[in-house]
């Protein structure tokens, strides 16, 4: 069974990779966007399993997008792999996000509920304020970014989009596998226990604070990588990536997907981006109205997210 699943997943990745070659450009872009944002939502899933909702994941999303190029710019370095490689840039973004999250996590790990949400929101707004005033990083306009190689291999003209698509699918598959293993591990299983009752977890001899800290850092790393991928796909970054409404959108997708399975965030994200692209086209001014109504319906009738549709049916059968 286990082997079958692994094979099925490998086959799925192969099909997506090969099939992606024939997808039209807009569909490839949409997939990259959805998968990249799905990584951020996957991070939120880790936190939500611990009973925490962060209204500030935009902080790490933006850090992931800005990190690689900003480091080059601030240090005044010439163009290297760090500022032009489709694999190195998102990973560097994830690393920077993880380091910052480790520092902020020391503080945040002591907070729960709305205070966790508000403090994480404050941190993301601080970054927003910093970015919008820093002329070196393009202030409120941001700047364009580009990549010329993937994993060190220079890319011929016209192959950039598909190359990024492959990089995204591979990174997401690795993140999925890693997160899946983490959730099955002893440490990962303690997450829902924290949500249910912190004190009992403490009595069992585990440090809740350390567990929350760990989940927080992991969530940030995933968001950072996601932000890096999305930035490369849009080819432009601006401070709005760190604004609180961006973080709110991630929370929305997380609620929509539910915390039932590591695949759920990506399905949720794909559905979300797809509906968004359609809604933007036809009803640009009622898009948020649709969003808000959908979220209310999900909260009221599907409190465990869209994923519960699958599990419910399976139980019934």
């Amino acid at each position: 069974m286990k082997l079958n699943r692994a094979l099925a997943l490998a086959a799925l990745i192969a099909v997506v990779l090969v099939g992606g070659r024939w997808l039209p450009g807009w569909a490839q872009s949409l997939m990259i966007l959805a998968l990249g944002k799905g990584l951020v939502v996957l991070g939120l899933l880790l936190l939500m399993r611990c009973g925490l909702v962060s209204f500030g994941q935009g902080l790490y999303y933006a850090l992931g997008a800005y990190a690689a190029v900003s480091m080059t710019r601030i240090a005044g370095l010439p163009e290297t792999l760090l500022s032009s490689d489709a694999v190195v840039m998102p990973l560097a973004g994830g690393l920077v996000a993880g380091v910052i999250a480790f520092v902020l996590g020391v503080l945040l790990a002591a907070y729960r509920g709305i205070f966790f949400a508000m403090l994480s929101l404050a941190f993301s707004m601080i970054l927003y304020g910093l970015l919008i005033k820093s002329s070196l990083l393009g202030s409120s306009d941001g700047f364009n970014i580009a990549f010329t190689s993937a994993a060190g291999f220079p890319l011929p003209a016209g192959s950039h989009l598909y190359a990024l698509f492959v990089v995204t699918v591979v990174l997401v598959a690795l993140a999925l596998y890693g997160t899946h293993r983490f959730l099955r591990s002893h440490t990962g299983r303690l997450g829902p226990a924290i949500r249910d009752n912190e004190l009992r977890v403490e009595y069992m001899g585990a440090s809740v604070r350390r567990l929350v800290h760990l989940n927080y850092v992991l969530a940030a790393v995933l968001s950072g990588i996601g932000g890096g991928l999305v930035a490369l796909s849009i080819r432009h970054i601006d401070p709005d990536l760190a604004y609180w409404t961006t973080s709110g959108e991630f929370v929305f997708v997380a609620i929509l997907s539910g915390t039932g399975n590591v695949i759920a965030p990506f399905l949720g994200s794909l559905v979300f981006e797809w509906i968004k692209s359609i809604a933007y086209q036809y009803t640009p001014y009622t898009w948020q109205l649709v969003l808000g109504t959908a979220m209310l319906l999900v909260i009221m009738f599907l409190p465990s997210g869209l994923w519960s549709l699958f599990t419910r049916r399976r139980k019934g059968a």
């Binding site: 909702v53 503080l107 002591a110 907070y111 509920g113 709305i114 205070f115 949400a117 508000m118 403090l119 929101l121 404050a122 941190f123 707004m125 601080i126 970054l127 927003y128 304020g129 910093l130 919008i132 005033k133 009752n197 004190l199 609180w244 409404t245 709110g248 929370v251 929305f252 609620i255 001014y285 009622t286 898009w287 948020q288 109205l289 969003l291 808000g292 109504t293 979220m295 209310l296 909260i299 009221m300």
Partner: protein, 298 residues
């Protein structure tokens, strides 16, 4: 010296309007344990209604001083329409859910209201500048300020004093405090908790709309105003301590002064100075300055 005085006065004027918005947010949280994300949209709604009514009033050539009554009237109207609609139509089905779920519910309301506002008023900006200059200028510390700004401060103080008096001196206020203290025991003692919630939410909505209506003559009314103000109001109430009335006042003064000092002396940090202060306060006192200890639940 003149610089310092103007920092203080600008800060106080800004705090008074922040206070009016934040006090509604903190009231709703204190009583209902709902951190109302839609508060910013209700504030924007108040501003739009006020701008429209004041515009029509001056186009009609009516007595200009009547426009002040109109500002208050639009706040009351928004409160009486939107408040009951949201509370009776949606929130009452959500009571008893987790605090964070309620945040998400009001976030949905926020998203819906943002688009409703754009649908009604479109995306262009409105302004109701007339009342702002109507009362002329006053000289404070060698700098001219509009009398309207001074009135804003007085209105904020009046709102704060009135709320404190109602809460501590009247029967209804005491019932409200009882509900804040313990919802279940209050219900068992025969307090109609549903009605207390209803009145609180309507009052909170009115205060949000009042903030919007009072700021409408000072700024141009644009779609993004609710999005910006809600995180500011959060900062104010979180600094002061969620659910605390004096906390909202202190938080508003701190945020107002920090912002005006930043604007005057170091404009680059204007945007994030407030959140920096909020983060620092939360680090030092995790539940805000005026918070009370809470028992750990097992």
């Amino acid at each position: 010296m003149a610089g310092l005085v103007s920092v203080l006065i600008d800060g106080i004027v800004y705090s008074s309007y922040l206070f009016i918005i934040a006090v509604g947010l903190t009231l709703i949280y204190g009583v209902m344990k709902i951190l109302n994300m839609a508060h910013g949209s209700l504030y924007a709604l108040g501003a739009y209604v006020a701008a429209t009514l004041v515009g029509a009033w001056f186009n009609g050539g009516l007595n200009p001083y009547g426009s002040f009554a109109l500002l208050a009237l639009s706040a009351i109207a928004v409160g009486l329409v939107a408040g009951p609609l949201i509370e009776r139509g949606l929130l009452r089905f959500m009571y008893g859910k987790d605090e964070i779920v309620l945040v998400l519910v009001t976030y949905s309301v926020f998203l819906i209201l943002e688009d409703v506002i754009t649908l009604i008023w479109g995306v262009e900006s409105y302004s109701a500048y007339q009342p702002y200059g109507l009362l002329g200028n006053i000289d404070l510390g060698g700098l001219p300020y509009t009398v309207y700004d001074v009135l804003l401060v007085i209105v904020a103080i009046l709102v704060g004093v009135a709320l404190t008096l109602v809460l501590t001196r009247t029967r209804h206020g005491k019932l409200l405090l009882a509900v804040i203290h313990d919802r279940e025991v209050s219900a068992a003692m025969g307090i109609n908790v549903g009605r207390v919630y209803f009145v609180t939410f309507t009052l909170g909505t009115m205060l949000a709309a009042l903030g919007g209506a009072l700021i409408a003559p000072k700024v141009s009314v644009v779609p993004a105003m609710g999005v910006e103000v809600i995180v500011l109001a959060f900062a104010v109430v979180v600094i002061g301590g969620l659910g605390s009335l004096p906390g909202a006042a202190l938080g508003a003064v701190i945020v107002g002064l920090v912002r005006s000092a930043a604007v005057h002396y170091w404009p680059e940090v204007e945007l994030f100075s407030i959140y920096l202060v909020m983060a620092l306060v939360l680090i030092a006192r995790p539940r805000g300055l005026f918070s009370t200890a809470e028992a750990r639940k097992i």
